[in-house]
């Protein structure tokens, strides 16, 4: 009855500069639904990538024992061969192929390379009925909603004779109805003997369908619990339960007058016109204040910040922005920067830096007018600026001529900061400023944030690490599903309280 199907022993996975997993243990029993919980960046997805062979055997330490045998998966193909199928957060479907083609992608119903289309359609139809999806197998995937796409992914998994199904945040982008249908489907699979691992931070879902839950925090297994006799609060405590020690520099805020006010801000999805991503947000920022936005992945925090910064995200943007009480136009990045707003991205490699160029050019690119006259750059002034900010933000590079792509994550982040500091903004929006960087560099970034606030800048920090928000901010907004669902002074806030406002909002929505 309680046979173990999968055991992961002492899994350790290191990325350059970061230990993502250390000595993680996981055991999953045959036929159960096992939930894995943890904050963003705790290592859940990394663990599943180790299991499914995305990170091949040899790139991590530890053992994977599946059905009593030690496994050495070198690729997803190997793990799928054994019946382990992972469905990622970002769906891996080809939008312009049909449902049937997607289901059998890489596993075509063919003899000698010639596809048997009747077989393909019949097979697809059979699988679709198993997941309760009544769509024509010839429909293009791009023409069905996200919820149905998720079901197509599951049908695809079933076609591979799945025995252990792994779902990474399967309901993150689904509506309540679609989520409920998906969860019901998982329970049905359970009755057919398929084991599932579900990664989720929606605690109400976990307590509804999971048999056991394993909590991961900071790349370590904290505990595994039976969900029958456990409260959501107990899971929350386990997820966030670490103390705030001296990982944050001391902070004495000097908060002044209101600098930025955003009123009734709404944004729609850039492709799906009817999907509202940001719903009537109001926020204010004061001089010298560090304000945080807490929320789970997909809450719309980045989307909000980017839409505010020169309409860099979304469409049909409505709402008003006031600086010092004056209504301002921030409809292009240039105007936003001109009004004194800067946005340092969460994804520095994609949106923040020119990785093939050096520190100097990256530092000045957002404010070239500051070092040029009549369009002619003063090279010496530029070098001086680059050296000054390199020193200020303590960038560890051989010189300002080192290619940014060769710097560590922490130093790259400091280059992004330098770039925006040189643009001299009044309002600085920092999106996940410490993502993927080590503890020491984090402390340096926090110190810079403190100094900037002391100089009178208003700083908005978006972070998925709640302790970080509690450690460095003065005031907090909590966002969920495109709304502000809570506001609190940091001195009166706790991680439990933040989690509760999120969970409460989710409960209300369902």
């Amino acid at each position: 009855m309680t046979k173990t199907i999968l055991e992961m022993r002492n899994i350790t996975k290191t990325f350059p500069g970061v230990k993502a997993l250390s000595d993680v243990n996981l055991d999953v029993r045959e036929g159960e639904i096992h939930a894995i919980c943890g904050e963003n960046g705790a290592g859940k997805s990394t663990l599943m990538k180790v299991l499914s062979g995305v990170y091949p055997h040899g790139s991590y330490e530890g053992q994977i024992i599946y059905k009593g045998e030690e496994q050495h998966f070198r690729s997803i193909r190997d793990s799928e061969h054994k019946g382990i199928v992972i469905i990622h957060q970002e769906l891996a479907l080809v939008p312009l192929l049909s449902i049937a083609e997607n289901i059998f992608l890489g596993n075509e119903q063919a003899t000698a390379g010639v596809i048997d289309w009747d077989e393909t359609r019949d097979g697809a139809r059979k699988l679709l009925s198993m997941v309760g999806l009544s769509e024509d197998p010839d429909t293009l995937v791009t023409n069905i909603g996200v919820g149905k796409q998720q079901l197509v992914e599951i049908a695809k998994a079933l076609s591979k004779q799945v025995q252990l199904l792994i779902l990474d945040e399967p309901t993150a982008s689904l509506s309540e109805k679609d989520s409920a249908a998906l969860l019901a489907l998982l329970l049905e699979f359970k009755s057919q003997g398929i084991t599932s691992i579900i990664i989720s931070h929606k605690l109400n879902e976990i307590s509804r369908i999971a048999d056991r839950v394993t909590v991961i925090r900071d790349g370590k297994t904290i505990e595994t619990m039976d969900t029958t006799d456990i409260s959501e609060d107990r899971i929350i405590t386990s997820m966030v339960g670490r103390s705030l020690d001296d990982r944050y520099p001391p902070r004495t805020p000097h908060v002044g007058e209101v600098v930025l006010e955003v009123k009734n801000w709404s944004v729609y999805h850039p492709q799906h016109r009817e999907r509202q991503i940001i719903k009537n947000i109001d926020i204010t920022l004061r001089r010298g204040e560090v304000v945080g936005i807490a929320g789970l992945m997909g809450a719309g925090r980045t989307e909000f910040a980017m839409s505010l910064f020169g309409k860099s995200y979304g469409q049909k943007i409505t709402g008003e922005v006031y600086m010092h009480g004056q209504k301002v136009d921030v409809s292009t990045v240039e105007r936003a920067v001109g009004r004194g707003i800067a946005y340092a991205t969460e994804d520095r490699k994609t949106y923040g830096l020119n990785l093939i160029d050096h520190v100097k050019h990256n530092t000045t690119i957002a404010n070239l007018t500051g070092i040029s006259r009549f369009g002619v750059i003063d090279d010496l002034a530029e070098t001086d600026v680059a050296n000054e900010y390199r020193k200020k933000t303590n960038i560890r590079s051989s010189s300002v001529y080192q290619t940014v792509g060769n710097l560590s994550g922490g130093n790259q982040q400091k280059v992004v900061l330098s770039k925006w500091l040189f643009a001299n903004p009044e309002v600085l929006i920092l999106d996940e400023p410490t993502r993927g960087i080590d503890v020491g560099a984090k402390y340096e970034i926090y110190t810079i944030i403190n100094q900037l606030a002391a100089q009178g800048k208003a700083i908005l920090v978006i972070s998925s690490e709640m302790p970080e928000l509690l450690g460095i901010t003065d005031r907090l907004y909590v966002m969920n599903e495109g709304r502000i669902v809570g506001e609190m002074a940091t001195s009166e806030a706790s991680q439990e309280q933040i989690m509760r406002s999120i969970v409460r909002a989710e409960g209300k929505a369902s």
Binding site: Y343, N354, D357, H361, G375, V376, I377, E388, R396, S398
Partner: protein
């Protein structure tokens, strides 16, 4: 004493720092390497053509033969650095050549419009039309996000057809003498020739185009002056400067090269007009890419378009300008080409785009955008040009010439990527 291999990192240097000789050489290895490759290739052909390559008349020819490639390579460099490609430049240059011919010769204007046939007016019209063609393609690429490969492939077909159409399938020429000066002319020797060896019995005389030599010397002095001034400024403001030995060596070598080539040109007919035009354009583009915000933004755009947009750069408008500039340069190249042949032919310009693109890639630009230098593109064009010239003189068959050029292009890019991977 330990040898210093890397510049020290911490803090702004209080006193002027000199980079180590080896470090400075390494940092500029690609630039010097390319120039060295060009010189080696020239010496190679000098030997195998029994000294024909370096004959004054042949050197002049090499410049005339490659001027239109170089002019277009300047624009193509911007296009490729911005992360795009322009396949239409050959056809556009051919079309503009045809337009110039029809304006000046083919179309019979009524008297009140006769001024359109004036070579200067016609030349300006051609440049403007070229810029508009480039702008139209740039508009579709920048604002409607149609891949540049497709837009300019379409442009290539369209303008190939248009040249045929307006020339009615025939060659049109000859051009007015003033227009021919663009390619066939040399600057006047206002000072008068310097006779070194007078013509005599059985002795071929040698007289030099004095103005050319004087201009070369003025140029060298100006270059030295600016180099010394920049070095002094850098060092007085506490910036790193290259080692003094390297600084002297570099400037002396460059001055010697200029002097040598101007002597060669002076012993033929002097400085060709087209070299003056080219020289001014090259200087302008070097300045634009190295020192102006416009150029810097193009590199940022090509390096990471999303990051550039989020830094407040108007990426669409910039792309649009880049293609407009390319169009104007293609027009200029088309006129130079037509003036050189002294007629516009329906086939003019066809396939030139490939030579231009090859020159830019040999010059070290990255096909992914964000990397490339004007000097590299110019040297790349000369490498191709010298190979064409040298192999023709040697009597290498055209089939072999093509293959050898292909191999050189591949080898240059391979070598580049190999070096990059090794250093990364």
């Amino acid at each position: 004493m330990t040898t210093e291999t890397a510049p020290t990192g911490a803090g702004a240097p209080a006193k002027p720092q000199e980079l180590s000789l080896w470090g400075a050489l390494q940092a500029n290895m690609r630039d010097y390497g390319l120039l060295l490759a060009l010189i080696l290739i020239m010496l190679f052909f000098q030997y195998f053509t029994n000294g024909v390559l370096f004959k004054p008349v042949n050197l002049t020819n090499i410049i005339l033969q490659n001027s239109y490639i170089i002019v277009m390579a300047l624009g193509m460099l911007l296009v490729i650095v911005a992360g795009h490609i322009d396949l239409s430049v050959g056809s556009v240059s051919g079309f503009i050549g045809a337009l110039a011919a029809m304006l000046m010769i083919g179309w019979k204007f009524p008297p009140e419009l006769a001024f359109l046939a004036n070579p200067i007016v016609a030349g300006i019209i051609c440049l403007v039309v070229g810029a508009i063609i480039g702008a139209a393609q740039g508009y579709l690429i920048a604002y409607h996000r149609i891949p540049s490969f497709i837009v300019t492939l379409a442009g290539m077909l369209i303008f190939k057809g248009l040249s045929l159409a307006i020339l009615a399938g025939k060659s049109v020429g000859p051009f007015p003498a003033e227009f021919q000066l663009l390619s066939a002319g040399f600057i006047p020797d206002i000072i008068g020739p310097t006779v070194v060896v007078p013509d005599g019995e059985g002795v071929q005389g040698l007289s030099l185009h004095t103005t050319t030599l004087v201009l070369a010397i003025i140029g060298i002095v100006a270059m030295m002056f600016f180099a010394i001034r920049t070095r002094a400024r850098r060092s007085s403001r506490g910036h790193e400067v290259e080692p003094f030995s390297l600084f002297v060596l570099k400037n002396v070598v460059i001055a010697a090269l200029i002097l040598f080539f101007s002597y060669m040109l002076a012993s033929y007919r002097g400085l060709p007009n087209v070299l003056v035009v080219m020289g001014i354009l090259i200087a302008l583009f070097v300045f634009m890419t190295k020192r102006m915000t416009f150029g810097r933004r193009i590199y940022a755009l090509g390096g990471n378009v999303k990051a550039a947009a989020l830094s407040g750069i108007k990426t669409e408008r910039l792309t649009f300008y880049v293609f407009a500039i390319m169009g104007a340069l293609a027009a200029l190249a088309g006129m130079i080409y037509a003036a050189r042949l002294n007629s516009a032919t329906p086939k003019a310009g066809q396939g030139l785009e490939l030579d231009v693109i090859a020159a830019v890639f040999i010059g070290g630009a990255s096909a992914l955008g964000g990397v490339g230098a004007v000097a590299g593109a110019v040297i790349g064009a000369f490498i191709m040009g010298v190979m064409n010239n040298g192999m023709s003189i040697m009597g290498v068959n055209i089939d072999w010439q093509q293959m050898i050029k292909g191999v050189v292009l591949l080898a240059a890019v391979f070598f580049d990527l190999y070096n990059k991977n090794k250093s990364a």
